[in-house]
Amino acid sequence: MAEVSYVNASRIYPGNPIPAVNDLNLEVGDGEFMVLVGPSGSGKSTALRMLAGLEDIDTGEVRISGKDVSNKPPKDRDIAMVFQNYALYPHMTVAENMGFALKLKGVPRSQRDTRVREAAKLLDLERYLDRKPKALSGGQRQRVAMGRAIVREPAVFLMDEPLSNLDAKLRVETRANIAALQARLGTTTIYVTHDQVEAMTMGHRVAVLKDGELQQCDTPRALYDRPANAFVAGFIGSPAMNLKTVPLTEGGAKVGDLLVPLTRTVLDAAKAASLSEITIGIRPESFKVSTDEAGLALHVDLVEELGADAYVYGTAHLGDTDEQVVVRVADRAVPEMGQTIRLTVVPDETHVFSPASGERLG
């Protein structure tokens, strides 16, 4: 059983007052695909490297299959890692690259060759076994890096942004391949990315990190529907959720000319915290263009047509200031630049956060 846990794990680089990873507590089940996502500097790569044994763990511990591996070198942790820029051995052929770890363990040659060939078959690399990395394309090198990890049959796969260096189309294709491969092999996988689309599409569960701290760890659907704080709300989903600080009134929030009704739970929570203003989050698809004159007035600045739908970027007057708002328009009747349209909000699709702490209310 290859479960992974981080127990109060922290890493502070010497000379830095702020920890790179601060008191991380995370449980990954056997066979689970866990994605660590966050902006640059959020500590996700550091957390992965702590698990790999490439970074020291200053406090707390890391466990694989229930055993504390915090002080063990990487080779004793039964892991395999896929690096962002592949880290293939340039002077060895593809077959030698993939078989190297087994060679070091003393696996006999025939067995080694069989396992390498099986992995190559899985990844469609059989034609390239005798080539050196410099004779391969980016996508092929990435598959060799994965093959090198698969051949070792480890307890845990660690992947550090493996798709970052691929072009967009190849990225989409490889994303699906990696997810399918993991489902087939059933190996516990920890995957680091800064791309929330990868996180949402590949992970069984996603852990969102910011400044070294875990913000929320949940299924992609839960992260999307019930973000725990304003950061997660703004990070997950593209284009980002509209987050605006607006005054609270009886029964709802006043967004420009529009009164957005809020549930009893939210209003009680806001009153308990003595808030007169709240941060309201409305996703672009939660706005509806209204046909009558009621609703929030939006002056259209830019329309991005993506084929199936369009995103309208506009300015709305909220309180004293003009704020940018993004709206998704799903039909072909797309407003034009310079036009003013009226918006209403789909009820029950709003999210409310405290302006001070960013925590979800209700």
Partner: protein, 299 residues
């Protein structure tokens, strides 16, 4: 892209006085007289550099009596070579070869491990160490020869190969460590990490992964250490006291007598001294190829 390149190529091949129009702003092409002058200058400089060596070769095939003549060919003879080979020369040759080869082996090993440590590990005192390597190169031999002689005496190494090997390592290793550190810095650290994850010890990573990738740097280091040991005179003259232990650099002085210089013998000896250095260079220059780490990592 191809269209632009062919346009430029075509216009340089054509009449040099015409200015090309079109896509790229033109560079000033060299006019014919300037080209001739440049080539003439280069030919002269090459001639000045190569001629003395060539003349030594010519002199080695002439008897000493004819050494001053300006003819290229006068009484062609091998007697200089045979007379040199009949003397202590072969023994000195052997001494030089042993000292130079061992200096090369030891020097490369120490420089490579040291350069790797400075490149990858942040051990306490690594910055002062790098400074020390730079500073010690500023000391001239004249200052160092007495202290090193004393050390060698106390170690009982005078008149043995090891006195010279160790002394030459002090000359070559700091420079070569720095050179190799720079070279190892170009090898991405992810390769080390991949090696660690695969199960290599730090020395294993060094030996099996990094060294094969640093061949050009190691080739230069090997050649530099060899040459330092091969041509050095000052330490060799003082640390080797018995005649049969002399290295070539020192031994060749016997041909310069008080009243007369044996030009023929000296020329022949000089040519023979050059040969091993040429052989080492030939072997080493095969490794001076670029593109060794291509494909290992992205970019």
């Amino acid at each position: 892209m191809a269209a632009i390149e062919t346009t430029v190529v075509r216009s340089t091949a054509s009449d040099t006085t015409a200015r090309p129009g079109g896509i790229r702003p033109s560079r000033r092409r060299r006019s014919r007289p300037a080209s001739i002058a440049l080539h003439a200058g280069l030919i002269t400089a090459s001639f000045i550099a190569i001629f003395p060596v060539f003349w030594v070769l010519v002199t080695s095939f002439k008897p000493t009596a004819d050494a001053y003549s300006t003819a290229l060919w006068r009484n062609f003879t091998f007697e200089n070579y045979s007379s040199v080979l009949d003397s202590r020369f072969p023994r000195w040759f052997l001494n030089s070869v042993i000292v130079a080869m061992l200096t090369m082996a030891l020097g490369v090993f120490i420089s490579a491990t040291c350069g790797y440590a400075m490149s990858r590990f942040r051990f306490p005192g690594y910055r002062p160490l790098m400074w020390l390597f730079l500073l010690t190169q500023m000391f001239p031999v004249a200052i160092l020869i007495v202290p090193i002689y004393n050390i060698m005496t106390r170690l009982g190494l005078i008149d043995t190969y090891w006195s010279l090997i160790l002394a030459y390592c002090t000359v070559a290793v700091p420079f070569c460590s720095y050179l190799l550190k720079g070279y190892f810095d170009t090898v991405p650290i992810e390769i080390d990490e991949a090696g660690r994850v695969d199960g290599l010890t730090p020395f294993g990573t060094f030996w099996r992964l990094i060294v094969p990738l640093a061949r050009p740097g190691l080739a230069v280091t090997a050649f530099y250490t060899f040459l330092t040991a091969w041509g050095e005179v000052a330490y060799a003259s003082k640390f080797m006291t018995s005649e049969k232990q002399y290295t070539l650099a020192f031994g060749m002085q016997v041909y310069v007598g008080q009243f007369k210089t044996e030009w023929g013998d000296l020329a022949a000896a000089s040519i023979m001294v050059t040969v091993p250095a040429l052989v080492v260079f030939y072997v080493v220059q095969k490794y001076l190829v670029s593109g060794l780490t291509a494909g290992g990592t992205k970019g």
